[in-house]
Symmetry: C2
Subunit: 456 residues, 2 copies
């Protein structure tokens, strides 16, 4: 099967309409902590899905913005589509060239907070449903379109929502919010995501800050924290927390084969990062294997005492704090990892260091040969000029565990509107209009595939 020619015509004829939808969506300030705007955005999603013929309902959970679930289409197969309607904060606002919630198109690029993450994908998918209906009539599968409003603050309620509404969400496969289009124009496609355990280590070891001359006898909280940190990781990147690798699943032969086919411009990446070598001095396949299958222990922040650049103050600080994020791979469990960290510190005399927990995401992998995975891959091959870049997991984290693992729904994250220069989570977030239209086309294409490809 090749592309349906009427689809391109239908998209071309409706470009203004869909860019208009994107403009509407990106004009709503659906930020965490702005309940009125979040509700406005939830209603906008609800109305669009209703207009498309969806049977919508709200999935509610105390303290969380409502998630919207709409059922459309019919057929023996059911696909769950996941997007989110909330956006990242806009600071530092002074670095934006136009206002984050007043979308502007410059040189074919659409600038607004949320344009790339993930309202661009959300609107492209809504538009694709309409295009499909215009070209073909009834959707070829039953679609459950789920849009949550808490993703950018860690989807804290999503696990509970997924558990509580398990029956309503049941599906044969799930299309997760978009990966992107890589710097070479290749559509990305992944079947999972790394997990995350984020902790803050805090140690207050003195009643008050002291003059630094007293460091000769008063134990330094900063040194204590630095010593604790030094026990956690070796310079080659190996995490030294006792038992850290116990549950790590080794990549399969199929995984390693996938890595061989994966495009990775090592030298360009090295230059982009501005580094002389990669962690552990690895290159080639070892680098790729590390990239996708190794967990990490990263210091996201550290602070103590006097930190004004270019000045001096002789102080012995009373306390020190750092933030660690552990990226996890299957089958590491974030709760277990934090428990192991606690035990590791206790065993080395650091039982006085407090651990405060933040994000908590399980790593997750889904099969590469599921119905949704095959549909997304075949559609990508037909839609894009370049071959898809298929990788085993996203190295970042997404809250797909409750769906892909707990509900057992095979999940794939296909290409969405964003590119490496889309400034996700940063000022001047953007997506290219051409990419937005291409993702509408791609979405129609994988809907077609979902209705037509063979079962196994």
């Amino acid at each position: 099967m090749t592309k349906t020619p009427e689809v391109a015509d239908a998209i071309a004829a409706r470009t203004d309409r869909y860019v208009g939808w994107l403009t509407e969506a990106c004009s709503i300030q659906s930020l965490a902590g702005q309940p009125d705007e979040l509700e406005r955005m939830a209603r906008w999603v609800e109305e669009k899905l209703t207009d498309l013929g969806g049977d919508t309902r709200r999935l509610t959970y105390e303290g969380a913005p409502d998630a919207i679930l709409a059922r459309l289409g019919s057929g023996p197969r059911t696909v769950l589509i996941y997007d989110h309607y909330d956006v990242q904060p806009v600071d530092p606002i002074e670095l934006w060239d136009s206002k984050p919630f007043e979308p502007e198109i410059r040189d074919g690029v659409f600038y607004a907070r949320g344009s790339a993450d993930n309202k661009g994908d959300l609107v492209a998918r809504l538009a694709a449903l309409e295009v499909y209906q215009q070209v073909h009539g009834e959707l070829p599968v039953q679609v459950k379109f789920l849009v949550e409003g808490e993703e950018e603050t860690g989807s804290k309620s999503f696990e509970a929502i997924a558990e509580h509404y398990a029956d309503e969400l049941a599906a044969d496969g799930c299309i997760w919010e978009g990966m992107g289009i890589d710097h070479a124009g290749r559509p990305e496609l992944v079947h999972g995501a790394k997990g995350l355990a984020y902790v803050e280590l805090v140690y207050r070891g003195l009643a008050e800050d002291q003059h630094s001359s007293l460091a000769v006898v008063a134990p330094s909280p900063v040194w204590h924290l630095v010593e604790a940190l030094a026990s956690l990781r070796s310079p080659d990147g190996k995490v030294l927390v006792d038992g850290f690798y116990d549950d790590v699943e080794q990549p399969t032969d199929a995984d390693l084969k996938l890595l061989e086919q994966l495009p990775f411009e090592e030298e360009e990446e090295r230059k982009r990062l501005g580094v002389g070598h990669f962690v552990g001095d690895v290159t080639g396949q070892d680098l790729l294997r590390r990239y996708y299958f190794e967990p990490t222990c990263n210091i996201a922040g550290i602070v103590a005492g006097f930190t004004v650049p270019g000045a001096s103050k002789t102080v012995l600080p009373k306390e020190a704090m750092c933030k660690l994020d552990f990226r996890l791979v299957p089958n590491q469990d974030p709760d277990d990892i934090v428990a192991k960290l606690r035990k590791h510190l206790d065993a080395r005399g650091f039982n006085d260091i407090q651990i405060n927990r933040f994000s908590n995401e399980h790593p997750v992998r889904s099969p590469a040969d599921s119905l949704v995975a095959r549909a997304a891959l075949e559609a990508a091959k037909e839609t894009f000029e370049h071959e898809p870049a298929v990788s085993p997991m996203m190295i970042g984290t997404g809250p797909m565990y409750p769906v892909a693992h707990s509900l057992g729904i095979p999940t794939v994250s296909p290409a969405g509107v964003h590119r490496p220069d889309s400034n996700i989570h940063a000022p001047n977030e953007n997506c290219r209009i051409d990419d937005f239209l291409k993702i509408i086309d791609y979405t129609v294409s994988w809907l077609e595939k979902l209705g037509s490809i063979d079962d196994d």
Copy 2:
């Protein structure tokens, strides 16, 4: 010899006059970066010394506030008195109960910036000269009264000034700005000071901050700095910089004997600091020996990445910075210590970490049996209710090296107006009026001793 009774009467009769002088001195905002106020303060000192019969001149050095030098009195012996007329910044201003440059007396305590460090001492010494002259007539020794204006910003020009004006400063002994009165009311007395090498370590290892998922392949600048730090010091406080202890002079038998006599309320100090034990778990004489004779490596500050308490952001920071202060003991040399630090880092793969230098003070010791030391000690015994607390060195740092070492003038720092709760360098700096008057008395007393005790 015992106290001259007329001295107490003279001080009592002139209390308002001398508190008035202190009020005048503390009303001038002689802060670094305020050249007009610094000059106003220099003129105030100059006028007071001239009124007392001094032959004053200015010691100038490009970029530094003028130091004032006055010669008074006569006799075969010459004593150099060192004070400074500049003060610390007043921030955080909101924590002051009264304005820092509008002195206020509450319950017998005089509150103003500079009242304890070191205008209280300066004015007490000026007052003592007048009292001496009123009671006895001509001063019994030749006094060279030196008051500099750059002490609070590190006396950067003082070494050059001392070298350039070596002939004018020549003396048989030097009375340095005041130590204090300890929490038990004991007058302190020291014969030297630790040195200081203050550096900032900066490492920028990535072109930009990255999403923390990239920490799996991109070397982390924060880990690199933490690893460098971990190589510098063992948890028991030993500094691991190669060759760090090469030039450390061991305490003599006389030093250790002095420690045996030194009052040190270990348990109270432990509680005040809020710690369970001291560095290296030492107690008793080992603790005192460490206190006075051990050098340190302290982390005065460290910062990298995301540091908002109670929040999370998954970032791989592009750079990290920390501030280290090394307190040095004789005969360590700050230049040599920084060179050794550089070499130590280079030898361990940390040659990419930049070292920026700040304060630089040589440690210095003077003999405990010099003329000035004996005069200050004997006068203290006669003036104060409690026995003096004599210690070998102040654990802090003062710029006395150019005088005590380079010019070879035996130097002692006797009790001044401040107590542990005088809030030196902090909001609500203060000195007690009673202590101020006592230090006038004490100063007259050591002037008398300087004129009368045997040479031996």
